[in-house]
Symmetry: C2
């Protein structure tokens, strides 16, 4: 569509991640690799009970232990509260199993662990509230006194006239769905290394999706100016929305360092990781929709209860995102949404990979699948009938300048052989379709969605590209290098990406909300065009043409139509530096999402799954998935395919396997052995369909390909399973136990 891929030299050609050699040989530096002179090791003392009063904390034995350099309790925090409900270290109340009560720093991990055990905390237990039902009951005990009920946040959105739309609907259906707690399971455990040994400047090494937001929060709560918190975010071993917030261990490392006047590293153990992580919670999703008999969707109503756990932190985002996303995928007349965050004495939750939308979209997708069944309409036709398209403006005012949803649906259905299979498969075989939409950044959400970038070009024509966008493993630095190489007419091998230190990085709010390729990519492109302008000035003089008549391509510069006059790119750089002014080539660029409402560009996707269910064991075998995604432009097709594979695999885990088993506020399976992740032998065949719609606002036409595919996978597989067993899926993950239970219920009905 419009600009052909062949216009570009670098964009659209598959290439491995630039850091693949380093990663695959174990040479990439992660936070735990950093050893500072005089560094201490920290250990946190956590509450063993879900709710209670602290009667006494005795740190004297720990303080006397040889090798202990600092012990801190709430008396050392200056009473700092992080958020409206959370003491930096608990003073009189503990609110969940794992709540931070005290911490020690010692010369080695063993001594720190021993000292932590020597700290004696006396508790007076209080009744723990552990379910949404208990917590939201009108007479429930209030968990946080600042809040008059247990609703930490509530949000309502209404567009159009839902009551009228329901009244006009020929068919109305309601369903309730439940999601259970999940965990992100990063490859790299949570770790923080703080050097706050001199007052006035805190340096912190930690994996993070957003150094800028970490910096802001740490500075605010420690009473520093933002720039006096230096965040060093090296390689990050996975993040999945779990590294957007400062966690208590970050503050604790800083305070221990301040007290001991030495750097302090806190490396979480695997079971601690399950407590610190803040992933998906136990939520309830109620959907009600109104349709015309021909399958035209008129109205969506959604009512959600999210288990907040003990502290609210930044969970307001979950309510915002799950609400706003509801009216983006289908043409709809009206929408009503109500979301509530409910305090309990569980671990503070947040959301698993997918911005809270994976379980929500599962619920909506399964609900629509049930509607299709009721109305006797092929689910593919139902999707096509209601799908948004290019030029459409949503209820919330979002305009789609590009949209490949219908193309995705059609191509996926064709490739998966939908028509030949749907309704014609043998017993316990099923096929399902799901559709999804995802924003590409956008400041309307909750941040100042701005990126800056900077590029310097050395004498040999090689460049350093500065960005504050971290790469958590998804290859975003490679994407940025491709954008820069294309813009400058050089190759990705010529580019070193510099990132991960707030003293150095240009402003960038970080890697979340699928904003990297779109927002940072636009800034990177602008910086490179600025550098190119400087080079064009030199080249134009040398080649005797106007700067606008120059072509920069494959490390050479020539007048349009005269490649035989080409000068080497590096010679132009050299000549610019060695000119009379000694001009060193440095380009700068900015991008600010111009829309105040939401994102400028949305990706769309369709997936089709085929499954086989074993009725004896309840085990689901994923046979095949077809994954179509409108990415605007595939900057690096290999990385796009990697994202499609990775997100589909992760989505399969969320819908089929992953669950934190909770008992009285305690996680029963806090280990990589007992928490069931999809394993390599559970891999399935994936067909990729990359749809390119050349978005007018994206860099070289690109949009997100981050969490977009993920939120579609769960519903797709659920719909296929439901199709296989002929019974609705109402609770996830769809474990063998739940499938056997569904089959039992189905039998009862007959």
């Amino acid at each position: 569509m419009s600009t052909k891929r062949s216009t570009y030299s670098i964009v659209g050609k598959s290439r491995p991640k630039l850091d693949a050699p380093l990663k695959s040989t174990g040479r990439s530096l992660f936070t735990d690799d950093i050893v500072l002179p005089g560094m201490l090791h920290g250990k946190i003392v956590r509450s063993p009970i879900a709710h209670g009063r602290i009667v006494n904390i005795d740190t004297s034995r720990a303080e006397r232990l040889q090798g202990v350099k600092a012990v801190i309790t709430h008396r050392d925090t200056g009473g700092v509260m992080v958020g409206p409900d959370q003491m930096l270290l608990c003073d009189d109340t503990v609110n969940y199993i794992g709540d931070e009560v005290a911490a020690v720093a010692a010369v080695d991990e063993e001594t720190a662990a021993e000292a932590a055990e020597l700290i004696q905390v006396e508790y007076e237990p209080l009744p723990a509230i552990l379910t949404l039902q208990e917590a939201s009951a009108p007479d429930a005990p209030i968990l946080h006194t600042y809040c008059e009920d247990n609703f930490a946040d509530e949000r309502t959105m209404v567009y159009g006239d839902p009551d009228k739309a329901f009244a006009e609907s020929e068919y109305v259906r309601s369903d309730e769905f439940i999601s259970n707690p999940t965990h992100n399971c990063f490859a790299e455990l949570h770790v923080a290394l703080a050097d706050y040994s001199l007052p006035g400047k805190l340096s912190m090494w930690t994996p993070s999706q957003t150094a800028i937001l970490f910096q802001k929060n740490l500075a605010q709560n420690l009473g520093l100016s933002e720039s006096n918190v230096r965040m060093c975010c090296l390689n990050t071993g996975g993040a999945f929305s779990g590294r957007t917030d400062v966690k208590p261990h970050h503050y604790i490392a800083a305070l221990l360092s301040r007290k001991a006047a030495r750097p302090v590293k806190i490396m979480c153990s695997v079971d601690e990781e399950f407590i610190v992580c803040r992933a998906g919670g136990n939520n309830i999703y109620r959907f009600k929709t109104g349709f015309m008999k021909d399958g035209t969707l008129k109205v969506i109503e959604a009512d959600m209860l999210h288990d907040c756990g003990a502290y609210v932190e930044t969970q307001f985002i979950v309510l915002l995102l799950t609400g706003i996303m509801l009216q983006l995928l289908y043409k709809v007349e009206a929408m009503r949404y109500q979301g509530k965050l409910v305090y309990t004495n569980n671990i503070p939750y947040y959301f698993h990979h997918g911005g809270g939308m994976t379980p929500e979209q599962f619920a909506l997708g399964q609900h629509l699948d049930l509607v299709a069944r009721d109305l006797g309409i092929d689910p593919v036709d139902l999707q096509l009938k209601n799908a948004v398209e290019k030029g459409y403006t949503t209820l919330s005012g979002t305009h789609y300048a590009s949209c490949g949803l219908k193309e995705c649906i059609k191509k996926a259905a064709r490739k998966a052989g939908w028509k030949k299979k749907y309704g014609k498969l043998p017993p316990y075989r099923g096929i399902g379709i799901g559709c999804g939409v995802m924003s590409s950044g956008g400041k309307g959400m909750f941040v100042h969605d701005t990126s800056a970038a900077f590029i310097k070009i050395a004498e040999d024509g090689k460049a350093s590209l500065f960005t504050g966008l971290p790469d958590m493993g998804q290859g975003s630095h490679t994407t940025m290098a491709i954008i820069a190489a294309e813009a400058l007419g050089i190759t990705t091998e010529d580019i070193t990406v510099v990132s991960g230190d707030t003293d150095i990085d240009p402003f960038d709010v970080g890697s979340f909300s699928q904003r990297g390729t779109f927002t940072t990519g636009n800034a990177v492109k602008a910086a490179c065009l600025d550098a190119k302008k400087q080079l064009a000035k030199t080249a134009a003089l040398k080649l005797g043409v106007k700067p606008s008549a120059l072509v920069f391509k494959q490390r050479s510069v020539y007048p349009k139509g005269a490649p035989e006059q080409a000068m080497a790119f590096e010679d132009i750089v050299f000549d610019t530096l060695h000119s009379k002014e000694g001009r060193f080539v440095m380009g700068r660029g900015f991008y600010n999402s111009p829309s105040d409402k939401a994102s400028l560009a949305y990706s769309f996707g369709t997936q089709i799954a085929e499954v086989e269910v074993d009725p004896e064991t309840g085990f689901v075998k994923l046979l095949r998935m077809t994954v179509a995604h409108d990415v605007g432009r595939a900057i690096n097709p290999l990385a796009v395919e990697g994202q499609l594979d990775g997100q589909a695999f992760s989505g399969a885990g969320q819908i089929l396997f992953e669950e934190c088993l909770m008992d009285s506020g305690q996680i029963l399976n806090p280990s990589r052995l007992d928490y069931k992740l999809p394993r390599p032998f559970e891999l399935f065949e994936i067909e990729h369909i990359i749809v390119e719609t050349n978005d007018p606002f994206g860099p070289f036409g690109a949009k997100e390909v981050a969490e977009g595919p993920l939120v579609t996978t769960a519903q797709t597989i659920a719909n296929a399973v439901s199709n296989a067993i002929g019974y609705p899926i109402k609770e996830i993950p769809v474990t063998p136990e739940r499938i056997l239970e569904a089959l039992k219920q189905k039998q009862k009905q007959h």
Copy 2:
């Protein structure tokens, strides 16, 4: 003088070095603090003889030692020569005691040392040539076959008609002077940490004055593109011209790392340090001058022999600098200079702190002092009569846009009470005067003297200043921060200096030739003015005035004459970032020395020393020094005074104490105990006179205050000692033994 100091808010106000808290609490990171995962330790096997053939190298026992990961000899270097005369590791010949023959990398230092001892090298000794006389004799054996005699380099400079000038002179005098080898004695020993574990990219951590030149040399000799060598130059514990060149241990660390596929650190021992350092050599300086009887200098002729030692490396610089500097201080009609670098089997020399000019200037200064005595002219008057001044153009075409030499002479003489003391002191008390000149950078010398700088300003109004100029302890980063703060109207506390990584730093050839304050300072100022322009655009809109009518001062911005309308600097930054374009403030600047001949700006200095000599022991007691220096503008008066003190102290060491005692090519005193440095109890009183001439090309009028004061000190003290004992000083250092010998000679004459 023109712009008054009070015009500035920050410039001209004394402030401590920004890194003082870090340095004084041991928190600054030096290369040896860096520990990389899997890092090995390297050890070099060196020649124990000054000249010989290698018959055999047996590494088999070392290779079999547990913990050894790599052993290299010349067979692993690919025959790379560093320079015209030097194999990276010796193949068939060793040329000095310490020459690198083999190296090992092992899991710890002890294992590496043990393995190094297990390497058996069989030598066949050859006659060693160790003196300038032997080496320059017409029938001397040739040390390097590529060179038809033992002169590694020769340079002649002639300006005007020296023969005519001598013929017209009413008085002609010749003298010969000798300097002995010295050592730089950095606080931080030589160290290199190389990570070349993956092909195609070498990362090297090492203290250096010039990351760019290290990068160029390493890349060239290892067959890499420049940018594929990443130099990380952290804090540097002293340099004194001794860290401008890549040394063999740098290459060796890289090759060991390549072979072992792991990072390798080589930390030199103290005695190795004396071999690796390349400091001052054993040189001969012959001066002949022609004068009129009234003291008018007409012509200078100089003939110098420099002991090159075993390898030439970059010693061509010495011949260039010592030549060009001869016609910069005095108005002279003609000049003739011949310099030769002579190969011997001594350690490869270079020069001690001062660009080779400390002994040369001692020789010229003492020579002129003897002339004054002969002509019966007060040395102060002789200096004043011949001193260059503002507006003067030298024989080599250097024009002085600012020059405070006469002011320095007059002020120093007045402050030191010269008139009351000269010729009127009791026996064995002496007073001496010396004058000096020094360039402030300048590309005419030997490098592309360009600096670039870059500044980014964060949301809270604090800035990161990017520079490739290293700070070796002299406080140049603080100077850059002051220049930036003044240019932006903020404070030095608001500025973080980012430097020391070629992947990040803007182009800057480094810290040598006294170029930092002048050249980099100009680039920094330009970068800040560029950032200010971006801010002024926002502020002008907010305040309703033209950008040119704005004042940036003390963290606020206001219309000229209306400080009551001031907006906070950080609010302007915030508004710029949060504007519609989301413009992040990033300023870039360049400075290229426009003169092709030499420097644009020269500093001038005058010193007066008073000494007392003990005729029994020959011991010199320095009573007092008056140090006047034309710095153009004192950016940070405290740092200027620190430089004046430090250089005078270092100069006193060079003239009175410091000497590498050589025997048959072997250093006899390679330790900090046996090599005599001036100690704290040898400190003397120093009176500072800061002369400000507001150079039109310098940043805020500033010129160098680096090695300028140093090269004046040695001659000044020598002249005072000569004045005290009534006998010429012909050899340095002026140790008690040499003074007693001079007194003996003096007695013989009478």
